[in-house]
């Protein structure tokens, strides 16, 4: 039993951190038209093999586990990475046809995420995406968007385009079972943990330099104590994320329960930490040029994906753990 990343796992995480800070830095969200995964970045990520990290080697992947998947998406979260990075990754797990899978893992075609919304589907991601991935707890389906009636919607989250499309797009691939759902839930929880961490780091840095009343604000307890609370929430969410990722890797029967707990902890930590980060920055915290609102807006989207609060709590109440 060893519940913190070991050296090899840390090496993957730091490689991902370095790569993503360069390929999709959060600063991009302050430039014009920042939403979505741009074609060149999508291709570059594909070339580096990031979409195929947790895909079996026999399917052209790196054959790594849910743990590396979680470590990678934590870094995606820190940069408020586009939702398509996850859609692309999960689509590769859904498709059995080797050619189509290779197109997806290489980034040659784009995949957005589709969520049932009343009679229609809500699309999250680039309008240029050729496919959309719809994932439930029982099944994942890849839909063909070619020729579909897509109506664009405005998006609070600057990292994301939103649109709706009538239901009934042709299905090009399906995968039964909960594997894709679990990897999606793990990836969203991990991104939220990344955001919780980045928010805490950002305010701690600021608290060390900003002065009021002749002292650094980080020496005022009204700043120190909410920062301590942020750290505690983060630590709980991060530890539970490690637990869930490891339980999936090891095929524990109760992995789904640990994953639900991880997603709930991550939802709570990200929403609270992004809130505190804005508040403790004072006026600068509500400006457009600052990152603080980007984290908050992106968390609101991720907190709804792969298990929002009500759905998860309803399941957790009577869930049983193994010994």
């Amino acid at each position: 039993m060893y519940l913190v990343p070991d050296d090899e796992e840390l090496a993957i995480a730091s490689a991902a951190a370095e790569y993503l800070a360069d390929a999709m830095p959060i600063d991009r969200l302050h430039a014009a038209n920042p939403a979505d995964l741009k074609d060149d970045v999508r291709n570059a990520l594909g070339d580096m093999g990031w979409y195929a990290l947790a895909l079996p080697e026999a399917d052209g992947g790196s054959g790594l586990s849910a743990i590396e998947h979680a470590l990678f998406f934590r870094e995606v979260g820190r940069q408020c990475g586009p939702v398509e990075v996850m859609a692309q990754c999960l689509a590769a797990m859904t498709v059995a046809d080797a050619d189509l899978r290779a197109q997806i893992t290489s980034g040659a075609v784009g995949v957005s995420l589709a969520i049932v919304d009343g009679d229609s589907l809500r699309l999250l991601g680039s309008p240029a995406a050729r496919y959309a991935l719809q994932v439930t707890r029982n099944e994942a389906c890849l839909l063909d968007l070619q020729g579909a009636q897509v109506s664009a919607k405005s998006s609070l989250d600057l990292a994301l385009s939103m649109a709706v499309v009538p239901a009934g797009c042709p299905v090009v691939a399906t995968r039964a079972g909960d594997h894709v759902w679990m990897m999606g839930q793990l990836a969203t929880a991990a991104q939220l943990v990344g955001i919780s961490e980045a928010s805490l780091e950002q305010i701690v840095e600021y608290a060390k330099v900003r002065e009021t009343f002749g002292k650094k604000i980080g020496s005022w307890q009204a700043v120190r104590h909410p920062c301590a609370d942020m750290a505690v929430r983060l630590e709980a969410a991060r530890s539970q994320l490690w637990y869930a990722a490891t339980a999936i890797k090891e095929g524990s029967l109760d992995a789904g329960v640990h994953l639900d707990a991880a997603k709930h902890q991550a939802n709570v930590a990200a929403l609270a930490n992004t809130d505190s980060n804005i508040q403790l920055h004072g006026g600068i915290g509500v400006t457009d040029e600052h990152h603080a609102h980007l984290y908050m807006k992106h968390s609101l989207v991720l907190a709804k994906l792969f298990g929002g609060r009500r759905e998860i709590l309803a399941r957790l109440l009577h869930a049983e753990l193994e010994d």
């Binding site: 039993m1 805490l200 060390k208 002292k215 980080g218 020496s219 990722a245 399941r315 109440l317």
Partner: protein
């Protein structure tokens, strides 16, 4: 990362479970007084006689020398078996006096005290806080004057848990009258039967008398009882506090999950006046489910902390984070249960076993004040985890 238990771990769990299920006392622990201390001594003696005393103590001092993970298993099994709670009159002796002596005591001190602690023969209490020195412990004033082979102690300690049952005390005093703050303090073993000690109980809002003010009037303590060196007591005291704040509450961390389970069971039985079951109330159901995830995360945090400690060889500053999270979760759980129990929750006569949820509700404040308040834990986190500019 991995979650696999070794063969040895699994065997250990099975052995502990079997022993506990056959040996956990059937009768409830008496709520108060001499009878409660006798109950605790007897249970400790039983653990000792069967080779289960001192799970965290090194083998060479009579403990089990268990790894962090096996300690987790032990406390999980204690919670599952509903064994007598480990936070009782033996707590100070087992969880911090013993470990402090092991780390800093002389050979004579170890040889005399450690077996007595393990077997439940001697109970200890902690005399650190004073009327004007709680959070600001280094401002303590109780004075010790070296006179021949003795230190003569005069002053008062406050909030001393179980002083009335204690055979010995971890006593922190100022031996250099001109010293400031943490310099000039000394940590001594005080025999509670020494002449000049007067113990006055303080009744708590739980209706019990487990904390006390202890007065010292020229109490003579042999210099041989100094742990660490004269004038170096702060360093010994920090060692004591690190045991208390490290894995000192590990049992509570792990027991929470069981308690949430009990609350969910209760919610499935209790009906409100309008006939609805508490569990069908969505606000209550959501709170309970959310607390269940908190309890799971606290366990994961405990396991992650143990893994990190194994790697770095020393406990990190996570103790404060866990204490804060556990105390807050305890309080929140009591509040939901209080809401669903209605008027029954307001029936209380100070008896823990007759009114467990109400007792725990009141206890939740003690938990968030004693051993360092939640505010002080936040200060520790700000300093030691986040390296924020110092407030003090």
């Amino acid at each position: 990362m991995d979650l696999q238990y070794s063969e040895q771990d699994r065997e250990f769990r099975a052995k502990a479970r079997a022993w506990l299920s056959a040996n956990v006392p059937a009768e409830a622990r008496p709520a108060h007084g001499h009878a409660s201390a006798t109950f605790d001594r007897d249970w400790q003696r039983k653990l000792y006689d069967h080779g289960w005393a001192g799970v965290s103590w090194p083998k060479e001092f009579g403990g089990l020398g268990l790894s962090g993970l096996q300690q987790v298993l032990w406390y999980e099994e204690l919670a599952r078996a509903r064994a007598p709670h480990y936070i009782n009159t033996t707590y100070v002796a087992m969880m911090h006096a013993g470990p402090t002596l092991i780390a800093r005591g002389t050979d004579e001190q170890k040889a005399f005290h450690l077996p007595r602690i393990l077997s439940g023969e001697s109970l200890w209490c902690q005399g650190f806080s004073e009327p004007n020195a709680g959070s600001d412990l280094a401002s303590l004033k109780t004075r010790g004057v070296v006179d021949g082979d003795d230190i003569v102690v005069t002053g008062a300690k406050m909030w001393t848990t179980d002083a009335q049952h204690g055979d010995y005390q971890e006593l922190l005093i100022r031996t250099d009258p001109d010293s400031q703050r943490h310099k000039g303090l000394t940590w001594v073993i005080c025999d509670m039967k020494t002449p000049g000690i007067d113990i006055k109980p303080i009744r708590t809002m739980l209706g019990d008398e487990h904390i006390n003010t202890v007065f010292y009037d020229e109490v003579r303590i042999p210099i041989a009882n100094v742990v660490g060196e004269i004038g170096q007591g702060w360093s010994t005291a920090l060692a004591t506090l690190s045991f208390e704040r490290g894995l000192g509450f590990i049992g509570d961390q792990l027991e929470l999950y069981e308690r949430v389970g009990r609350a969910v069971d209760l919610a499935g039985k209790l009906r409100f006046d309008d006939g609805t079951l508490a569990i069908d109330d969505s606000a209550i159901a959501q709170k309970l489910a959310s607390l269940k995830s908190d309890a799971m995360a606290i366990r994961a945090m405990t396991l992650a902390d143990i893994a990190e400690t194994d790697r770095t060889g020393q406990p990190g500053p996570k103790g404060s984070m866990m204490k804060l999270l556990v105390t807050n979760t305890h309080k929140a759980l009591s509040e939901v249960v209080g809401e669903m129990m209605g008027w029954d929750f307001l029936e209380f006569n100070g008896d823990r076993s007759a009114h467990p949820w109400t007792y725990d509700f009141l206890w939740s404040w003690i938990f968030s004040i004693s051993g360092g308040t939640n505010e002080i834990q936040r200060e520790n986190i700000a300093d030691r985890v986040l390296s924020l500019p110092r407030a003090r």
